[in-house]
Symmetry: C2
Subunit: 203 residues, 2 copies
């Protein structure tokens, strides 16, 4: 693959990412992607064959990018409390820089089970959770979280961080009827979410 190939393929991929994030799979138009990339429609098909394949490439990249951001939760060398604080600070900062990701992923995830399967192909959920539990056994016992409650806890943490962005359109509209600004609400949330979760699991 020459340097020029790479440039064009990347230009297409970046343009597609932008358009798909905005319009979703069904709403996106190949012509629109071509315009954004500054090339013509035929080239899209030359590189990616079909719209579905182009979308799949973009989706896998974005969904992986989102999932990867949960990795710090499984890292070692932090107390559970520090880990939770660190997670919300970093994750909400990330979403603030990429506010369209949650709605995009949540939407497309419910449309095509095959794509989700592919996404999780190499993820060993059981052992990740086992590892996490072993790592914090003492603390989780002290709190009141049993191993079989980990899915509830994990999805609650994800929900606290992701939901405000997934529901951005609604929350913005609601907040616009008050004196509160969405970005202030989000800044505040880094701290609030951490306190909330830590308190929730503390007896």
């Amino acid at each position: 693959m020459t340097d020029n190939d790479k440039q064009t393929e990347e230009k297409i991929f970046d343009a597609a990412t932008d358009v798909f994030l905005d319009k979703g799979m069904d709403g996106a138009r190949m012509q629109d992607i071509a315009n954004h990339a500054g090339i013509n429609k035929a080239l899209l098909h030359y590189y990616y064959r079909t719209k579905d394949q182009l979308f799949d490439a973009v989706f896998q990249m974005i969904a992986k990018k989102m999932l990867k951001k949960f990795a710090p939760v499984f890292d070692e060398n932090l107390t559970l409390e520090d880990k939770i604080r660190f997670f919300f600070r970093e994750h909400i900062t990330f979403l603030l820089e990429n506010p369209r990701l949650p709605a995009f992923v949540l939407n497309e995830i419910n449309r095509n089970p095959e794509r989700v399967k592919k996404l999780l192909k190499n993820v060993d959920v059981e052992s990740l959770w086992k590892k996490l539990y072993e790592q914090h056994k003492t603390e989780l016992d002290k709190y009141n979280v049993s191993e079989k409650m980990l899915p509830q806890l994990m999805t609650s943490i994800a929900a606290m961080s992701v939901f405000p962005f997934a529901a951005k359109g609604l929350i913005e509209a609601i907040l616009s009827k008050t004196s509160i600004n969405f970005n202030d609400y989000i800044e505040e949330r880094k701290q609030f979410a951490a306190d909330f979760v830590i308190n929730a699991i503390t007896k």
Copy 2:
């Protein structure tokens, strides 16, 4: 409007609801809606003029249906704790019966600000929150929730209930790699979410 009018218009509306919930605005096809309703395409336009108007009617109905389910939060005559327990029990039961609603609303809400504006036209957010705060002032003071933290608390409660359904496709795929079943996870959540939130705000 005759009885027959009503019947046809309702058949169309119901069919449209079903198809839009599945495919979203962009993915839905008028032909598909007509087939579901057992009539022809031309009749759709006779009753609703355009696809956008038909979609808007469906969206407003569904979004209102979802928002209304938060009403018990503002009802009187329950302690804050009982209110939270009652809310999660009822709300998660409702979402179990209507699992496609969250993803649909969250998706379309980020596409068209005008629709959201229309949806909230007659909602007085400030006074609802003021009312809620006054109602539970003593309890909220005892916990550590100030009035300006209400948006954080409210969105957290919504997140705890709605997120598992909005992310259903992903959570199902993850749980399928363990011995846990999605419906069991959801049943468990009614209790877990209530305990979680109550503990979170308890000093």
